[in-house]
């Protein structure tokens, strides 16, 4: 069953990859129209999901995420409109090299193929993900949170119908309905090219352990802020507060604050007062607790992503110890230094092995929209393919296209072999 869905999606992905920008944008417009037309059905389905969730006594935070009303639909439609306005990421000539006279090599951006995306309870994620896939020419298998099953079914039907009426191959998207479906999908590396899981650490790790398909995503966000002895105190206070409190449940909020010993006596009492206003629970190492009163931090704390108003604090001897701590305990997500010493900042930036390394600004900036990527596919702590906040280009690969006039390799090997010219050209593929 899932294998059949995946086979059809693979087939659909071939023609989807060759679709013109105009066709893709007109399908996106049809989707906007269909979502507006089906507003009542969507909201009714969502109310059924909400009622079921209340019967299942689901937490308030989750209920809030599950809710999909007229305002959220409007936001989603706004999102599709900005996607239409973005340039088509497919078909861009990234390089052109003349290998010899009449033998030209083009490297051209192209869709990855079939994506398998597993996402959390927010129904707006379904709209965002499927339209990102469409814009980038990828087929997609989607699995949303089971709490949102009815909403997701109406949304997927609406998007699927509207897009196939607009000329897209009808199997380019499919909704998976159960955990068993996800498990079956993970075995289909022949048809599915990339899996993007959004969810808890345990869930992402489960996916990574159970598939041969490449996985794009981050498991944890254990982010750090280091206050150097040459920090400007006002900046340090502002940034330390923002990095923890602006939205503590985000993966780019800090979990550990590292402070140079030399300035701890003046800095710690001040930041403690700020954090008290934000109701942050502090956990300090031994030397921290000699200066301010707080709970003790254990080894466990340095490894923990609280995603909550809790912060561990450790005093360090200087920048080297800070770097050592971050590279040991961090999750290679986002780490920052506050310092007025450019040389030390530079050292920190070079030696921290993380996707995002910041100087004198909040770790909370680590985000696709703030980076101006147009749309965010996710944040990656992988080191290959895409790293940090990932925009549409994370859903692309490239194809090598070589155009000859009867050229053969025998002419370029052995004695009397012709040399290659390997000349970079400013040509675009298809420009003749």
């Amino acid at each position: 069953m899932i294998e059949q869905i995946a086979t059809q999606a693979k087939k659909a992905s071939i023609s989807l990859a060759a679709l013109s920008s105009q066709k893709k944008n007109s399908a996106l417009s049809s989707i906007i129209q269909a979502l507006s037309d089906n507003e009542d059905a969507i909201i009714t389905a969502n109310q059924a999901d909400l009622e079921q969730a209340q019967r299942d006594t689901i937490k308030d935070a989750l209920l809030k995420r599950l809710k999909f009303d007229a305002a959220k639909l409007k936001d989603s439609i706004e999102g599709i409109r900005s996607l239409i306005a973005l340039p088509d990421p497919v078909g861009t000539t990234l390089d052109c090299t003349e290998l010899d006279k009449g033998l030209e090599l083009y490297r051209v951006s192209s869709p990855i193929g079939v994506l398998g995306i597993v996402f959390e309870s927010r129904p707006d994620a379904l709209i965002q993900i499927s339209t990102l896939a469409l814009k980038s020419g990828n087929a997609v298998l989607l699995k949303g949170g089971s709490e949102a099953a009815q909403t997701n079914r109406v949304l997927a039907d609406t998007i699927s119908k509207a897009s196939s009426q607009a000329g897209l191959p009808k199997d380019w998207m499919a909704l998976l309905e159960s955990r068993a479906d996800v498990k079956a999908m993970l075995a289909l590396d022949e048809y599915i090219d990339l899996v993007i899981p959004r969810g808890s650490n345990a869930f992402v790790k489960y996916i990574m352990d159970n598939t041969r398909i490449p996985v794009l995503g981050h498991t944890e966000g254990i982010c750090h802020l280091f206050i150097d002895r040459d920090a400007d105190m006002e900046k340090a206070i502002r940034i330390a507060y923002d990095s923890k409190c602006q939205y503590p449940a985000a993966c780019n909020a800090i979990e550990t604050l590292l402070v140079d010993k030399t300035i701890a006596v003046s800095f710690l009492p001040r930041i403690q007062k700020e954090y008290e206003k934000g109701s942050v629970e502090l956990r300090g190492d031994k030397s921290t607790r000699e200066i301010i009163d707080c709970a003790p931090a254990t080894e466990e704390d340095w490894h923990t992503e609280y995603l909550d108003l809790i912060l561990s604090i450790r005093l360090v001897d200087g920048i080297d110890e800070a770097i050592e701590h971050i590279n040991t305990y961090g999750s290679r997500h986002t780490d920052a230094i506050v310092s007025e010493d450019a040389k030390k900042a530079r050292t920190f930036i070079e030696l921290i092995d993380s996707a995002d390394v910041f100087w004198n600004c909040s770790t909370r900036f680590s985000d696709g929209f703030r980076y101006g990527l147009g749309a965010e596919v996710g944040i990656s702590t992988n080191k290959i393919h895409a790293r940090g906040p990932v925009g549409l280009e994370g859903l692309l690969t490239y194809k090598w296209k070589l155009i000859g006039k009867g050229h053969i390799v025998a002419d370029y090997s052995g004695a009397d072999s012709r040399p290659f010219t390997h000349k970079k050209l400013e040509k675009k593929f298809g420009s003749s």
Copy 2:
């Protein structure tokens, strides 16, 4: 034991990533010197390996690959010299965006970290791989063929000593000695960032199935050539011959020839005569065998990478059937069309789902050196990270570097939020 080696390599990779181009190039020069100085010891070790291999009655082809003499050492040294001449791939600013006044985001190329590379019996592979890793700032764990154990040990010692004397962190490279070591390495996803296996299909699949670490490589090269009805016959003959015979053991040689029915009667007898000169065994489908005399091809043949002077032939109704065959049976490596019809060629290039898609030239051009990549790390049939022939940039990732003046996210959210400017800048990181 292996975990300790990997931990040390991870540590070394941090300082290696920040090393200047000059330091890396001077280490490469020291390696050249040390290899020349140790020529005798290297060749003696290789002779011991060769004698052992003869006692183990290893095949001639393998013996030839195993042999490492003065001429091969000279070639390897030439390779290092060209590597020194290449620009440093690390530290290139790929993008710069102003997020707001004084808040600048740089995306800068950086090493991946620690590579685990498992390669075949050629000892020159050890030199090539370790120096590619060095140039790209990556630490590397290496495992070569067991037949070359003694040669590899001398080479690894020579390179390791010369580079640490030149100031590289001493644990940046390590030689693994057994299959058990490789197995242990595959579990160390915390320290190793990318595995590159070079070897048989079965071996690469074994690696993919047994690690959570991303794998770069290709499992098979089932490449096709399609002769369209509008092909120029002379080009078709030349390209068909070259694609199969120029080096049949290569992954980019064709395994299946697809011929448009309309031209089969004139084309097949001619190409058969050519292939006879090259001692190619032909296996045809039913309609092929109605035109020329050859063995029958079965379903199995379309799935087979012969890596030998054997070729399967199938007649097709036209370009659509050719594309369908290739996307069904191919391995997404390299496929080509011969045609004088630009529109059909364009369709073929767009709809074939392979890393390398060619028009009117031999599939054998699919190669890092022919593409002018400077150095070839391998060929990838992955769709993420790197696709097709992979040069040094396949060993790189990027880091996001954000430089502020005390900027916090709270100022950019809620009512009265500051807008982002998201202005592209032509600045390089570090240019102030």
